[in-house]
């Protein structure tokens, strides 16, 4: 029996179901202190003085370090890249404008840390943090990208001329001609919100300095190796003296692809010589960790009479927030993704990403994709409505076909998954019936919409994406699989164990995975970008194969049988068809180990990527009196290449689509326009969908193998969130003839769109 294609429960599921899994807040070290950050109430200010006398007098407080004294107490700190790109950057390069400084002397958003209180208990640290008196000199604050671009605006970061974090352009073909020849041109301005990952586990990290000066840090980071290199550079110590361990992760969704509490925990441990855990409150998590970039895109789309895209023109403003982090990469992905899902030959796109005095924006599942797909997918439907064309058929006509060039890489489209997701998805959803006019209750209208995407597996840029794995057979015939593809709750640990089991030829229960320790695991870029299964899976498959070959080679030489005639099973190694000559693994391996052999396989992922295809269909009811949108049902059809563990794959797609529905209907951080203070930084105020207001999400798996993927698998985790919001917007458009273009699509905005549409119709 093969492991790939089966759905065994997650390896850690029983521990999680019985409360035994240990997250960072569950970890305790003897003598451990608790850290609490003091955060700025100003969006932009210079720190003039920090008075800690009253706070230090609080019982239980050990020490307080602040912007004023950190440089003298911890000399040699360097500016650092919040996004942990330190491996990819030139080691000799100067810091970039917008890199962060630990407890810097200028604060750049409401919530930027100014001081770190270290105390014997969390309660004491919190009490004392409220007593730290900071003297600020407030500076002009740039609370919006418009402020940042205004003439004479202050400069937030030296070297960032015009407060521009990054600017990208992309031109394809001859857009002027495409627009001149178009059957219809539609244009709208789209606004997307700062969506928060809002993972259930509050951010935290625990750091400890060993007697030999080595630092161990426990953190739910998505990329422990990149975190290690970035922390090494920040603290000016060799990377080998930092060990990053990832405990059970309580959800990440991109938030933990940046440094958060780790530098503060290490700072505290270095200053006190004691273990330090820094745990953020939920409010700190909302304001002090990165969110999805807010964007404003004005896009014009030229369509041919059959509803296909002749050309696209777009101009986007992206809000980086206070520091650089992932902004350059996300802006690049956003522009690429605007032309990567269909045959689009003519385009002129520009995106400007600006620094503002607001919380930092960074990685969130989809990484620029939702911000690109919302305008593109909605304009297709607006254009098709004007043309009287079925938007599903339009998408089918311009879909990407096998062998087509692809916007993301100089690599061809593999497989016919785009067509299959559109066609099979439409069939399973009942597209034609759902698009037919429905009788509705008075004041309510019903509609159906869809959207599709061609997404990528892994990082777009070449040479930035690396996975390696090691499989080692222990003398008793078990296998230790070492990989740094951290399991954030995704089920990747189980999935990789399945791939490894099949590559070697052993049952799943022989495989033990260690995926959380930089001291033990080979380098891996991390768990994000729909890359973990695809890329780490490739490495694991290669490592398993090499291990099997080594074991068979040794068996061949000791049994004096040609390797090609040997098979490896859980029972041992035997000549094909001669179980009587079987040698058990423990016996074979004992002989091998005693003779000085080691049974290890290494694998490395090639520098490839694979397209993954997804179509999301949604049916909604809109209450025309209140603007309330109810999502009746959603279906996601996704080409995953090969579902290694179908239950895990379904769960990933359901989760991605669900977060996309949240983006569509309720989610977005709101900042006070006067002060820059976050207004909805609690679960009470930031509306996540509950089980009672979530539709059933059906998943249709399409399995068109990719030739490079492990067992044919393609990336899974992100496509659903990329197109769920436009599918819902398009359903609203179908139901009512209009839809707001500002996320989230709240009842107020839906009503406003309905009213302006009817007044326009009356005027016409």
């Amino acid at each position: 029996m093969t492991a790939v294609g089966a759905s065994p429960p997650r390896l850690e599921a029983p521990a999680k179901a019985s409360g035994r899994a240990r997250y960072v807040a569950d970890l305790v070290q003897p003598g451990m202190l608790h850290g609490r950050l003091v955060r700025s109430p100003y969006p932009h200010a210079r720190v003039l003085a920090v008075d800690t006398a009253e706070a230090l007098a609080t019982p239980g407080v050990v020490t307080i370090v602040s912007s004023i004294d950190i440089a003298s107490r911890l000399p040699g700190l360097a500016p650092f890249d919040l996004a942990c790109g330190s491996m990819e950057r030139d080691p000799d390069a100067e810091p970039l404008p917008g890199d962060a400084t630990l407890l810097g002397s200028t604060v750049r958003y409401v919530g930027d840390p100014v001081a770190l209180v270290l105390a014997e208990s969390e309660a004491a640290a919190s009490r004392a943090a409220a007593l730290v008196n900071v003297d600020y000199e407030p500076l002009d604050a740039l609370l919006t990208p418009a402020d940042a671009q205004a003439e004479g605006a202050v400069l937030l970061h030296e070297g960032a001329v015009g407060n521009v974090a990054t600017r990208k352009t992309r031109r394809l073909g001859d857009p002027e001609r495409a627009f001149a020849d178009a059957a219809v041109v539609v244009e709208r301005t789209f606004v997307t919100s700062r969506q928060k990952q809002a993972q259930l586990e509050p951010t935290g990290a625990l750091a400890m300095v060993d007697s030999d000066g080595r630092i161990t840090v426990w953190t739910p980071h998505q990329a422990p190796h990149r975190a290690r290199y970035t922390l090494a550079r920040l603290f000016g110590i060799p990377a080998a003296r930092i060990r990053v361990i990832v405990p059970t992760v309580g959800g990440a969704f991109g938030k933990n692809d940046a440094l958060t509490a780790e530098p503060y925990a290490i700072c505290g441990a270095l200053l006190t010589g004691r273990p330090v855990r820094v745990g953020y409150t939920r409010q700190e998590d909302f304001v002090g960790t990165e969110a999805r970039h807010a964007t404003e895109t004005t896009m014009a789309m030229a369509l041919r009479s059959d509803g296909t895209i002749a050309g696209v023109r777009g101009r986007s403003i992206v809000d980086a927030g206070a520091y650089l982090s992932h902004s350059a990469a996300i802006t690049a992905v956003m522009l690429t993704h605007m032309v990567a899902s269909y045959r689009i030959e003519h385009a002129e796109l520009e995106a400007t990403c600006l620094f503002t005095n607001t919380p930092v924006n960074g990685a969130f599942r989809g990484y620029g994709g939702p911000q690109a797909s919302f305008p593109v997918e909605h304009l297709i439907d607006v254009g098709c409505a004007e043309l009287g064309v079925d938007p599903l058929q339009a998408r089918l006509r311009m879909r990407l076909r096998p062998g087509d060039p692809w916007g993301y890489r100089d690599q061809e489209i593999t497989g016919d998954g785009h067509r299959l997701c559109l066609e099979e998805g439409a069939k399973a959803f009942g597209w034609d019936r759902a698009r037919a006019p429905h009788p509705s209750a008075p004041g309510k209208v019903r509609g159906a919409g869809m959207a599709s995407t061609v997404w990528k597996s892994g990082i777009v840029g070449k040479g930035m994406d690396h996975s390696a794995a090691t499989a080692r057979m222990t003398p008793d015939g078990g296998v230790l699989l070492l990989t740094a593809a951290a399991d954030l709750g995704t089920g990747i640990r189980t999935t990789l164990a399945q791939i490894c089991a099949d590559a070697i030829g052993l049952p799943l229960d022989q495989i033990t995975v260690v995926d959380n320790d930089t001291d033990l695991t080979p380098y891996d870029t991390g768990a994000f970008a729909s890359r973990t299964l695809y890329r780490a899976g490739q490495a694991v498959e290669a490592a398993g194969s090499e291990l099997r070959d080594r074991v068979l080679a040794f068996a061949g030489s000791s049994l004096e049988i040609d390797v090609a005639d040997l098979v490896l099973t859980a029972a041992g190694v035997e000549p094909r068809g001669s179980p009587d000559r079987r040698i058990s693994l423990p016996k074979l391996l004992r002989d091998g180990y005693l003779a000085g052999h080691e049974f290890v396989g290494h694998g490395q992922a090639p520098q490839t990527t694979a397209p993954s295809f997804c179509a999301v269909f949604a049916e909604v009811v809109v209450d025309c009196d209140t603007g309330q949108v109810s999502v009746l049902r959603v279906l996601a059809a996704q080409d995953v290449g090969r579902a290694i563990n179908p239950a895990i794959v379904e769960g990933q797609i359901q989760g991605a689509v669900h977060q996309g529905i949240g983006l569509a209907l309720t989610e977005g951080l709101v900042l006070d326009p006067e002060t820059g203070t976050l207004l909805n930084g609690t679960y009470m105020d930031y509306r996540l969908l509950t089980s009672a207001d979530s539709p059933r999400i059906e998943v249709l798996l399409v399995e068109e193998p990719d030739p490079t993927g492990p067992s044919g698998a393609r990336g899974v985790g992100e496509p659903g969130i990329v197109v769920a919001a436009p599918a819902i917007a398009n359903a609203i458009l179908h139901a009512t003839g209009t839809a707001p273009t500002r996320l989230p699509l709240t009842p107020e905005r839906v009503l406003e769109a309905l009213r302006s549409d009817s007044s326009q119709s009356r005027g016409a």
Partner: protein, 162 residues
């Protein structure tokens, strides 16, 4: 003050500060880390435990308020290492991903099924609305709970699932 609480069937007496919350007593004093704290505001439901068999937010309840009463946590559900049917259903149905909400979700489901052993999907969705999950979209969570209830509906006939 001194509190005496029956936790998972065992009587425990402790001197606690007046302002100690039940979740902290459970986690820090008793080492019952299965109860998770996601917000400390009584919204996310991760810290849900049973107080005299009723689900409560242990981050909003003072330890003192549990004095003389019975508290049930996730650690008390399994018997002799055999998972409670709700726990087992979460494992079998892939109803947990990161697992951080799972303890609270399971406790809410256990209490709900005690009251309503034969719920339909809509009732289950309503009953779990006080427990946020960010990973699953609740689909498999509802499936898991429905599988424990004897009245599981066939998938085709249960409409939009609202």
């Amino acid at each position: 003050m001194n509190v005496t609480i029956e936790v998972n069937g065992q009587l425990t007496s402790r001197a606690v500060p007046d302002d100690r919350f039940l979740c902290d007593l459970l986690r820090d004093d008793l080492g019952l880390i299965g109860t998770k704290v996601g917000c400390r505001e009584g919204v996310c439901g991760s810290c849900t435990v049973l107080l005299d068999e009723r689900p409560v937010r242990s981050c909003l309840l003072l330890a003192a308020q549990a004095d003389g009463r019975r508290v049930g946590t996730i650690e008390g559900l399994a018997t002799d290492g055999v998972l409670h049917p709700v726990q087992q259903a979460f494992v079998d149905h892939g109803a947990l991903q990161c697992g951080f909400c799972t303890s609270g979700m399971v406790m809410s489901a256990v209490a709900f099924l005690d009251d309503e052993p034969h719920p339909d999907r809509e009732q289950i969705s309503e009953a779990l609305a006080g427990n946020l999950c960010r990973c699953t979209g609740y689909v498999k969570v509802v499936e898991a709970v429905a599988s424990v209830a004897a009245t599981e509906q066939p998938a085709a006939s249960d409409g939009p699932g609202r």
